[in-house]
Symmetry: C2
Subunit: 199 residues, 2 copies
């Protein structure tokens, strides 16, 4: 019944989605995470809360969609030149998370993940979902012999994720120069074959 | 004058410091970062706000002192066995940041560092200040030949800091098994001498 109903109804108004996302992005950047409530989004966008709740279960999912979809557009098609590919990927990844709305939102999202503001659903959680496959593709395209077959690619990606986060959010880390180059060097080291063990 | 005045006055009542820190720890763990205000600390501890403000410029410094002093007690005296030393250091470091008060406080502190809640003072900022020297000591005690002389130890520590933070705060990363062992392997890889470049 639900399916039939949807197919004969009006097409979903995507302009509402866009308006909600635009207003949320602006609220995050200018008012901060705490002020970015469904109430505030509704007032600024002129869209009734019930229409917003029909599309998203809570403000958290709206904020995630604002902060992280950029990662889907981090289209870093692997060329097989590992260093160049990592450089483009890491630069794009870091700049997505460094945007004003993302910078304002990430600590709030981290806090929400610790609390029960949203139940954890391991598959839909956080940035890893969208950027990890691209990273895996880059590693897969690297020349034979340049990647240690024993390395755990998820561990390397998790390390990269944490490092980017620290460089954006932690003052002592953020203050260092050439952040992208440093991350590229670290990531290359984590991926390369190990030297022979000294005996 | 101030010095003379201090030397003839009553000795500083350290029990006030302890009471403030204990109450703050409890508030963080049970009420969360936002509720851990000077007002709340005052009410719970029975210590007047003016006495609190004489000791700390804002709640941020109290919270940092609650969350991070554990790092000073992360006494990991280097033995020269790099893997064992890293394992003890990383386990202690991660468990300090994983305590309930720390877990509740870190996202709030990260948010505060992004806003103007506290001016940035690069020397007094964040965890790096207390655990970094211990990490440097461990690396310095490692056997000759086990550390790449070209590696930037600060970069490795920053990477470790970000990785620990991600493992504590980001659900997709936190879900992986054997976190300390994974971090030890990553850190060892970042420190070891590079293999000869394949030609």
């Amino acid at each position: 019944v639900a399916t039939a109903k949807r197919s004969v109804g009006r097409p979903r108004d995507t302009s509402i989605d866009e308006r909600v996302l635009d207003v949320t992005r602006s609220l995050l950047a200018h008012q901060g995470f705490d002020q970015t409530t469904i109430q505030a989004i509704s007032e600024r966008s002129g869209i009734h809360p019930s229409a917003i709740y029909r599309r998203w279960p809570s403000r958290i999912e709206i904020i995630e969609q604002v902060v992280f979809p950029g990662l889907n557009s981090v289209k870093v098609k692997p060329t097989g030149d590992l260093r160049a590919d990592l450089h483009r990927f890491i630069r794009a990844y870091a700049s997505t998370l460094d945007a004003p709305a993302a910078r304002a939102a990430i600590p709030g999202l981290l806090a929400a993940y610790q609390s029960s503001e949203r139940p954890r659903t391991s598959q839909s959680d956080w940035v890893a979902v969208s950027a990890r496959p691209q990273f895996v593709d880059i590693v897969a395209a690297a020349p034979r012999g340049s990647i240690d077959p024993h390395v755990d690619i998820d561990d390397v990606f998790d390390t990269l994720l944490g490092s980017v986060m620290a460089r954006i959010l932690v003052p002592t880390v953020a203050g260092r120069d050439r952040p992208v180059e440093r991350l590229v060097v670290m990531t290359e080291r984590l991926l390369m074959p190990l030297p022979e063990k000294p005996s």
